[in-house]
Amino acid sequence: MADNLFTVEIITPDRIFYHGEASMIEFNTTEGEIGVLKDHIPLTTVLAPGIVTVTLEGGETKQAVVHAGFAEILGEKVTLLAEIAEWPDEIDLDRARKAEDRARERLAKHEASLDVARAELALKKSLARQDILAGKR
Protein backbone atom coordinates (compact mmCIF):
# COMPACT_ATOMS: atom_id res chain seq x y z
CA MET A 1 0.00 0.00 0.00
CA ALA A 2 2.87 2.27 0.77
CA ASP A 3 3.69 2.96 -2.87
CA ASN A 4 0.46 4.80 -3.60
CA LEU A 5 1.34 7.68 -1.32
CA PHE A 6 2.14 11.21 -2.44
CA THR A 7 2.96 14.47 -0.72
CA VAL A 8 0.22 16.90 0.14
CA GLU A 9 0.91 20.48 1.09
CA ILE A 10 -1.69 23.06 1.99
CA ILE A 11 -0.17 26.51 2.23
CA THR A 12 -1.81 29.74 3.34
CA PRO A 13 -0.24 33.19 3.56
CA ASP A 14 0.17 32.87 7.33
CA ARG A 15 1.44 29.34 7.73
CA ILE A 16 2.04 25.93 6.24
CA PHE A 17 -1.37 24.60 7.06
CA TYR A 18 -0.73 20.95 6.38
CA HIS A 19 2.17 18.91 5.13
CA GLY A 20 2.21 15.16 4.93
CA GLU A 21 1.77 11.96 2.98
CA ALA A 22 -1.62 10.93 1.68
CA SER A 23 -3.14 8.27 -0.52
CA MET A 24 -5.97 10.47 -1.80
CA ILE A 25 -7.12 14.05 -1.65
CA GLU A 26 -10.52 15.40 -2.60
CA PHE A 27 -11.52 19.02 -2.98
CA ASN A 28 -13.82 21.46 -4.74
CA THR A 29 -12.75 23.36 -7.82
CA THR A 30 -14.62 25.93 -9.84
CA GLU A 31 -15.26 23.18 -12.39
CA GLY A 32 -16.60 20.69 -9.85
CA GLU A 33 -15.33 18.23 -7.31
CA ILE A 34 -12.08 16.45 -7.94
CA GLY A 35 -10.38 13.48 -6.32
CA VAL A 36 -6.67 13.02 -6.84
CA LEU A 37 -4.66 9.82 -6.54
CA LYS A 38 -0.97 9.30 -7.10
CA ASP A 39 0.39 9.93 -10.63
CA HIS A 40 -2.37 12.28 -11.63
CA ILE A 41 -1.57 14.25 -14.78
CA PRO A 42 -0.07 17.67 -14.04
CA LEU A 43 -2.91 20.09 -13.53
CA THR A 44 -3.42 23.57 -12.16
CA THR A 45 -6.93 24.37 -11.12
CA VAL A 46 -8.80 27.05 -9.23
CA LEU A 47 -10.31 26.19 -5.87
CA ALA A 48 -13.89 26.88 -4.87
CA PRO A 49 -14.91 27.21 -1.22
CA GLY A 50 -15.45 23.75 0.17
CA ILE A 51 -14.17 20.84 2.17
CA VAL A 52 -10.81 19.24 1.55
CA THR A 53 -10.58 15.59 2.51
CA VAL A 54 -7.15 14.07 2.83
CA THR A 55 -7.07 10.28 3.10
CA LEU A 56 -4.02 9.11 4.98
CA GLU A 57 -2.14 5.86 4.59
CA GLY A 58 -4.33 3.74 6.86
CA GLY A 59 -7.60 5.01 5.41
CA GLU A 60 -7.97 7.59 8.12
CA THR A 61 -9.27 10.93 6.83
CA LYS A 62 -8.61 14.52 7.74
CA GLN A 63 -10.96 17.31 6.81
CA ALA A 64 -10.53 21.04 6.54
CA VAL A 65 -12.24 23.97 4.88
CA VAL A 66 -10.49 26.03 2.23
CA HIS A 67 -11.77 29.21 0.63
CA ALA A 68 -10.39 30.52 -2.61
CA GLY A 69 -6.99 29.75 -4.00
CA PHE A 70 -5.63 27.26 -6.44
CA ALA A 71 -4.15 23.80 -6.56
CA GLU A 72 -1.13 22.54 -8.39
CA ILE A 73 -1.20 18.82 -9.00
CA LEU A 74 1.92 16.96 -10.03
CA GLY A 75 2.36 13.19 -10.09
CA GLU A 76 4.16 12.99 -6.77
CA LYS A 77 2.91 16.11 -5.10
CA VAL A 78 -0.23 18.14 -4.64
CA THR A 79 0.04 21.73 -3.45
CA LEU A 80 -2.98 23.71 -2.40
CA LEU A 81 -2.42 27.44 -2.19
CA ALA A 82 -5.38 28.65 -0.18
CA GLU A 83 -6.11 32.18 0.92
CA ILE A 84 -7.87 30.83 3.97
CA ALA A 85 -7.81 27.32 5.39
CA GLU A 86 -9.35 26.16 8.65
CA TRP A 87 -9.58 22.97 10.66
CA PRO A 88 -13.07 22.17 11.90
CA ASP A 89 -12.22 23.14 15.48
CA GLU A 90 -11.16 26.61 14.36
CA ILE A 91 -14.56 27.45 12.94
CA ASP A 92 -17.02 29.62 14.76
CA LEU A 93 -20.41 28.13 13.95
CA ASP A 94 -22.41 31.16 15.09
CA ARG A 95 -20.38 33.43 12.92
CA ALA A 96 -20.81 31.16 9.93
CA ARG A 97 -24.59 31.09 10.47
CA LYS A 98 -24.73 34.85 10.72
CA ALA A 99 -22.64 35.21 7.59
CA GLU A 100 -25.01 32.88 5.78
CA ASP A 101 -28.03 34.93 6.86
CA ARG A 102 -26.34 38.15 5.80
CA ALA A 103 -25.41 36.77 2.41
CA ARG A 104 -28.90 35.39 1.78
CA GLU A 105 -30.45 38.66 2.81
CA ARG A 106 -28.25 40.59 0.43
CA LEU A 107 -29.00 38.22 -2.42
CA ALA A 108 -32.74 38.36 -1.72
CA LYS A 109 -32.87 42.16 -1.70
CA HIS A 110 -31.14 42.33 -5.04
CA GLU A 111 -30.17 45.97 -4.89
CA ALA A 112 -28.52 47.65 -7.82
CA SER A 113 -25.29 48.09 -5.91
CA LEU A 114 -25.12 44.39 -5.09
CA ASP A 115 -21.97 42.54 -6.01
CA VAL A 116 -23.65 39.21 -6.75
CA ALA A 117 -20.45 37.26 -7.17
CA ARG A 118 -19.13 38.45 -3.85
CA ALA A 119 -22.33 37.71 -1.97
CA GLU A 120 -22.53 34.25 -3.50
CA LEU A 121 -18.95 33.60 -2.52
CA ALA A 122 -19.69 34.66 1.05
CA LEU A 123 -22.69 32.34 1.08
CA LYS A 124 -20.63 29.42 -0.22
CA LYS A 125 -17.94 30.02 2.38
CA SER A 126 -20.42 30.07 5.25
CA LEU A 127 -22.11 26.93 3.95
CA ALA A 128 -18.81 25.09 3.61
CA ARG A 129 -17.96 26.02 7.19
CA GLN A 130 -21.27 24.69 8.45
CA ASP A 131 -21.12 21.56 6.33
CA ILE A 132 -17.86 20.40 7.76
CA LEU A 133 -19.12 20.83 11.31
CA ALA A 134 -22.37 19.02 10.52
CA GLY A 135 -20.44 16.16 8.90
CA LYS A 136 -18.30 15.76 11.96
CA ARG A 137 -21.11 15.31 14.41
Binding site: E31, P42, T44, V46, A68, G69, E72, L81
Partner: protein
Protein backbone atom coordinates in the same frame (compact mmCIF):
# COMPACT_ATOMS: atom_id res chain seq x y z
CA UNK B 1 33.65 76.56 31.38
CA UNK B 2 30.03 75.64 32.03
CA UNK B 3 29.01 75.64 35.64
CA UNK B 4 28.66 72.44 37.61
CA UNK B 5 24.92 72.84 37.81
CA UNK B 6 24.57 73.18 34.04
CA UNK B 7 26.63 70.09 33.42
CA UNK B 8 24.64 68.13 35.95
CA UNK B 9 21.35 69.17 34.39
CA UNK B 10 22.57 68.29 30.92
CA UNK B 11 23.77 64.91 32.12
CA UNK B 12 20.48 63.97 33.70
CA UNK B 13 18.59 65.00 30.57
CA UNK B 14 20.82 62.86 28.37
CA UNK B 15 20.52 59.89 30.65
CA UNK B 16 16.74 60.04 30.69
CA UNK B 17 16.78 60.19 26.89
CA UNK B 18 19.03 57.17 26.96
CA UNK B 19 16.54 55.30 29.08
CA UNK B 20 13.84 55.98 26.52
CA UNK B 21 15.95 54.87 23.58
CA UNK B 22 17.01 51.77 25.48
CA UNK B 23 13.40 50.85 26.19
CA UNK B 24 12.45 51.49 22.56
CA UNK B 25 15.24 49.26 21.42
CA UNK B 26 14.06 46.43 23.62
CA UNK B 27 10.50 46.81 22.42
CA UNK B 28 11.48 46.79 18.78
CA UNK B 29 13.72 43.77 19.30
CA UNK B 30 10.75 41.79 20.54
CA UNK B 31 8.53 43.11 17.79
CA UNK B 32 11.18 42.31 15.22
CA UNK B 33 11.28 38.70 16.28
CA UNK B 34 7.54 38.37 15.89
CA UNK B 35 7.45 40.17 12.57
CA UNK B 36 10.34 38.15 11.29
CA UNK B 37 8.62 34.88 12.12
CA UNK B 38 5.55 36.02 10.26
CA UNK B 39 7.58 37.04 7.25
CA UNK B 40 9.35 33.70 7.22
CA UNK B 41 6.14 31.73 7.57
CA UNK B 42 4.55 33.48 4.66
CA UNK B 43 7.52 32.86 2.39
CA UNK B 44 6.56 29.40 1.05
CA UNK B 45 3.24 30.77 -0.14
CA UNK B 46 4.87 33.49 -2.24
CA UNK B 47 7.51 31.19 -3.64
CA UNK B 48 4.84 28.84 -4.86
CA UNK B 49 2.69 31.65 -6.10
CA UNK B 50 5.58 33.09 -8.08
CA UNK B 51 6.55 29.72 -9.54
CA UNK B 52 3.01 28.95 -10.58
CA UNK B 53 2.52 32.32 -12.18
CA UNK B 54 5.81 31.86 -14.02
CA UNK B 55 4.80 28.52 -15.40
CA UNK B 56 1.38 29.84 -16.34
CA UNK B 57 2.87 32.75 -18.21
CA UNK B 58 5.23 30.40 -19.97
CA UNK B 59 2.21 28.49 -21.22
CA UNK B 60 0.08 31.51 -21.83
CA UNK B 61 2.62 33.40 -23.91
CA UNK B 62 0.22 34.22 -26.71
CA UNK B 63 -2.80 34.90 -24.56
CA UNK B 64 -3.92 38.46 -25.03
CA UNK B 65 -4.97 39.22 -21.51
CA UNK B 66 -5.44 42.75 -20.14
CA UNK B 67 -3.27 41.93 -17.13
CA UNK B 68 -0.34 41.17 -19.41
CA UNK B 69 -0.37 43.86 -22.07
CA UNK B 70 0.38 47.54 -21.81
CA UNK B 71 -2.61 49.66 -21.02
CA UNK B 72 -3.50 52.90 -22.82
CA UNK B 73 -3.80 54.98 -19.69
CA UNK B 74 -0.54 56.64 -18.71
CA UNK B 75 -1.69 57.14 -15.14
CA UNK B 76 0.32 55.18 -12.63
CA UNK B 77 -0.61 53.97 -9.19
CA UNK B 78 1.83 53.13 -6.48
CA UNK B 79 1.30 51.40 -3.19
CA UNK B 80 3.77 52.65 -0.62
CA UNK B 81 4.36 50.81 2.59
CA UNK B 82 5.87 52.86 5.40
CA UNK B 83 5.44 53.02 9.14
CA UNK B 84 3.08 55.11 11.22
CA UNK B 85 5.78 56.19 13.62
CA UNK B 86 9.16 57.74 13.15
CA UNK B 87 12.43 57.19 15.00
CA UNK B 88 13.40 54.36 12.71
CA UNK B 89 16.50 55.83 11.13
CA UNK B 90 16.29 56.18 7.37
CA UNK B 91 13.53 53.61 7.03
CA UNK B 92 10.73 55.88 5.85
CA UNK B 93 12.78 58.41 3.95
CA UNK B 94 14.51 55.64 1.98
CA UNK B 95 11.18 54.39 0.67
CA UNK B 96 10.15 57.92 -0.24
CA UNK B 97 13.48 58.54 -1.96
CA UNK B 98 13.11 55.43 -4.13
CA UNK B 99 9.78 56.77 -5.34
CA UNK B 100 10.89 60.33 -6.02
CA UNK B 101 14.05 59.05 -7.68
CA UNK B 102 12.13 56.86 -10.14
CA UNK B 103 10.07 57.78 -13.19
CA UNK B 104 7.00 58.04 -10.96
CA UNK B 105 6.54 61.79 -10.89
CA UNK B 106 3.82 63.73 -9.07
CA UNK B 107 2.01 64.70 -12.31
CA UNK B 108 0.95 61.21 -13.34
CA UNK B 109 1.05 59.18 -10.16
CA UNK B 110 -1.59 58.35 -7.62
CA UNK B 111 -0.41 57.08 -4.29
CA UNK B 112 -2.11 54.43 -2.18
CA UNK B 113 -0.51 54.82 1.21
CA UNK B 114 -0.13 52.19 3.86
CA UNK B 115 1.38 54.02 6.83
CA UNK B 116 1.28 57.68 7.86
CA UNK B 117 4.89 58.68 7.35
CA UNK B 118 4.98 57.98 3.64
CA UNK B 119 1.70 59.79 3.18
CA UNK B 120 2.99 62.92 4.90
CA UNK B 121 6.24 62.99 2.96
CA UNK B 122 4.71 62.27 -0.43
CA UNK B 123 1.85 64.72 -0.14
CA UNK B 124 4.40 67.38 0.80
CA UNK B 125 6.24 66.57 -2.42
CA UNK B 126 3.04 67.12 -4.41
CA UNK B 127 1.84 63.58 -5.04
CA UNK B 128 -1.88 62.87 -5.11
CA UNK B 129 -2.93 60.59 -2.29
CA UNK B 130 -5.70 58.40 -3.69
CA UNK B 131 -6.28 56.38 -0.55
CA UNK B 132 -4.69 55.87 2.80
CA UNK B 133 -4.74 52.89 5.09
CA UNK B 134 -2.71 53.88 8.16
CA UNK B 135 -4.19 51.28 10.51
CA UNK B 136 -3.30 48.35 8.27
CA UNK B 137 0.42 48.38 8.99
CA UNK B 138 -0.10 47.89 12.73
CA UNK B 139 -1.29 44.35 12.20
CA UNK B 140 -1.22 43.40 8.54
CA UNK B 141 -3.68 40.67 7.57
CA UNK B 142 -4.34 38.98 4.28
CA UNK B 143 -7.83 40.50 4.22
CA UNK B 144 -6.35 43.99 4.25
CA UNK B 145 -4.16 43.15 1.27
CA UNK B 146 -7.21 41.71 -0.46
CA UNK B 147 -9.16 44.91 0.08
CA UNK B 148 -6.39 47.07 -1.36
CA UNK B 149 -5.70 44.87 -4.36
CA UNK B 150 -9.41 44.74 -5.14
CA UNK B 151 -9.63 48.52 -5.21
CA UNK B 152 -6.61 48.78 -7.45
CA UNK B 153 -7.62 46.04 -9.84
CA UNK B 154 -11.02 47.64 -10.28
CA UNK B 155 -9.36 50.93 -11.21
CA UNK B 156 -7.04 49.06 -13.54
CA UNK B 157 -9.91 47.22 -15.21
CA UNK B 158 -11.79 50.50 -15.72
CA UNK B 159 -8.75 51.98 -17.41
CA UNK B 160 -8.26 54.65 -14.76
CA UNK B 161 -4.70 53.54 -14.17
CA UNK B 162 -2.30 51.89 -16.55
CA UNK B 163 0.43 50.64 -14.29
CA UNK B 164 0.62 49.54 -10.69
CA UNK B 165 3.77 49.65 -8.59
CA UNK B 166 4.60 48.61 -5.06
CA UNK B 167 7.22 50.31 -2.90
CA UNK B 168 8.25 48.50 0.24
CA UNK B 169 11.32 47.65 2.28
CA UNK B 170 12.85 44.26 1.70
CA UNK B 171 14.04 42.58 4.88
CA UNK B 172 17.47 41.14 4.13
CA UNK B 173 18.52 40.54 7.71
CA UNK B 174 18.43 42.30 11.06
CA UNK B 175 21.06 44.86 10.13
CA UNK B 176 20.26 45.48 6.50
CA UNK B 177 16.99 46.48 4.89
CA UNK B 178 16.61 47.55 1.33
CA UNK B 179 13.88 49.73 -0.17
CA UNK B 180 12.41 48.19 -3.29
CA UNK B 181 10.18 49.31 -6.12
CA UNK B 182 8.27 46.53 -7.80
CA UNK B 183 6.05 46.61 -10.87
CA UNK B 184 2.86 44.68 -10.23
CA UNK B 185 0.83 45.25 -13.37
CA UNK B 186 1.14 44.64 -16.25
CA UNK B 187 2.82 41.51 -15.02
CA UNK B 188 6.51 41.37 -15.71
CA UNK B 189 8.37 38.24 -14.93
CA UNK B 190 12.00 37.35 -15.34
CA UNK B 191 12.41 35.99 -18.89
CA UNK B 192 15.04 33.42 -17.96
CA UNK B 193 12.90 31.79 -15.36
CA UNK B 194 9.95 31.68 -17.70
CA UNK B 195 12.07 29.95 -20.31
CA UNK B 196 13.38 27.48 -17.77
CA UNK B 197 9.91 26.70 -16.52
CA UNK B 198 8.45 26.22 -19.97
CA UNK B 199 11.11 23.67 -20.84
CA UNK B 200 10.16 21.45 -17.94
CA UNK B 201 6.46 21.97 -17.44
CA UNK B 202 3.72 20.03 -19.09
CA UNK B 203 1.04 21.66 -17.04
CA UNK B 204 -2.64 21.47 -17.85
CA UNK B 205 -5.08 24.10 -16.76
CA UNK B 206 -8.63 23.81 -15.67
CA UNK B 207 -10.39 26.08 -16.52
CA UNK B 208 -8.25 27.10 -19.54
CA UNK B 209 -5.19 29.33 -19.23
CA UNK B 210 -7.02 32.54 -19.87
CA UNK B 211 -9.70 32.06 -17.24
CA UNK B 212 -7.20 30.68 -14.78
CA UNK B 213 -5.02 33.74 -15.32
CA UNK B 214 -8.00 35.90 -14.65
CA UNK B 215 -8.43 34.30 -11.25
CA UNK B 216 -4.84 33.74 -10.27
CA UNK B 217 -3.25 37.08 -11.20
CA UNK B 218 -5.36 38.99 -8.63
CA UNK B 219 -4.29 36.47 -6.00
CA UNK B 220 -0.71 36.93 -7.11
CA UNK B 221 -0.98 40.70 -6.71
CA UNK B 222 -2.63 40.30 -3.33
CA UNK B 223 0.06 37.96 -2.14
CA UNK B 224 2.76 40.41 -3.23
CA UNK B 225 1.06 43.23 -1.34
CA UNK B 226 0.71 41.06 1.73
CA UNK B 227 4.31 39.92 1.44
CA UNK B 228 5.40 43.55 1.11
CA UNK B 229 3.50 44.43 4.26
CA UNK B 230 4.91 41.70 6.47
CA UNK B 231 8.43 42.31 5.22
CA UNK B 232 8.09 46.04 5.75
CA UNK B 233 6.94 45.52 9.32
CA UNK B 234 9.99 43.37 9.97
CA UNK B 235 12.22 45.97 8.30
CA UNK B 236 10.66 48.80 10.27
CA UNK B 237 11.44 47.13 13.55
CA UNK B 238 14.90 46.16 12.39
CA UNK B 239 15.63 49.73 11.36
CA UNK B 240 14.26 51.10 14.60
CA UNK B 241 16.26 48.64 16.64
CA UNK B 242 19.44 49.75 14.92
CA UNK B 243 18.63 53.44 15.21
CA UNK B 244 17.83 53.13 18.89
CA UNK B 245 20.92 51.05 19.49
CA UNK B 246 23.19 53.71 18.07
CA UNK B 247 21.25 56.43 19.90
CA UNK B 248 21.80 54.58 23.16
CA UNK B 249 25.52 54.21 22.59
CA UNK B 250 25.78 57.86 21.54
CA UNK B 251 24.07 58.87 24.75
CA UNK B 252 26.54 56.75 26.67
CA UNK B 253 29.43 58.57 25.02
CA UNK B 254 27.96 61.95 25.82
CA UNK B 255 27.39 60.93 29.43
CA UNK B 256 31.00 59.77 29.79
CA UNK B 257 32.20 63.05 28.36
CA UNK B 258 29.93 65.06 30.64
CA UNK B 259 30.98 63.11 33.73
CA UNK B 260 34.57 63.93 32.96
CA UNK B 261 33.74 67.60 32.56
CA UNK B 262 31.68 67.58 35.73
CA UNK B 263 34.47 66.03 37.78
CA UNK B 264 36.94 68.45 36.36
CA UNK B 265 34.70 71.38 37.26
CA UNK B 266 34.17 69.99 40.75
CA UNK B 267 37.89 69.56 41.28
CA UNK B 268 38.47 73.04 39.90
CA UNK B 269 36.03 74.59 42.34
CA UNK B 270 37.62 72.74 45.28
CA UNK B 271 41.07 73.90 44.28
CA UNK B 272 39.82 77.43 43.96
CA UNK B 273 38.23 77.34 47.39
CA UNK B 274 41.42 76.00 48.93
CA UNK B 275 43.54 78.69 47.31
CA UNK B 276 41.12 81.30 48.60
CA UNK B 277 41.28 79.94 52.15
CA UNK B 278 45.07 79.71 52.13
CA UNK B 279 45.35 83.20 50.70
CA UNK B 280 42.95 84.47 53.37
CA UNK B 281 44.89 82.73 56.18
CA UNK B 282 48.16 84.17 54.94
CA UNK B 283 46.69 87.66 54.83
CA UNK B 284 45.62 87.42 58.46
CA UNK B 285 48.94 86.11 59.86
Amino acid sequence: MASMRDIKRRKSSVSSTQQITKAMKLVSTVKLQKARNRAEQSNPYFDYMYKTVCSMLAKAGEVNHPYLKESESDKKAIITITSNRGLAGGYNSNVVKTITGSELQPENTEVYCIGNKGEEALSRKGYTIAASYPEVIEQPTYEDALEISRTLLEAYANGEIGEIYLAYTHFKNTVSQEPKLLKLLPVEINEDEVAEESATSLMNFEPNEEEALDMIIPKYITSLIYGGMVESVASENGARMQAMDSATSNAEEIIADLSLKYNRARQGSITQELTEIIAGAEAIS
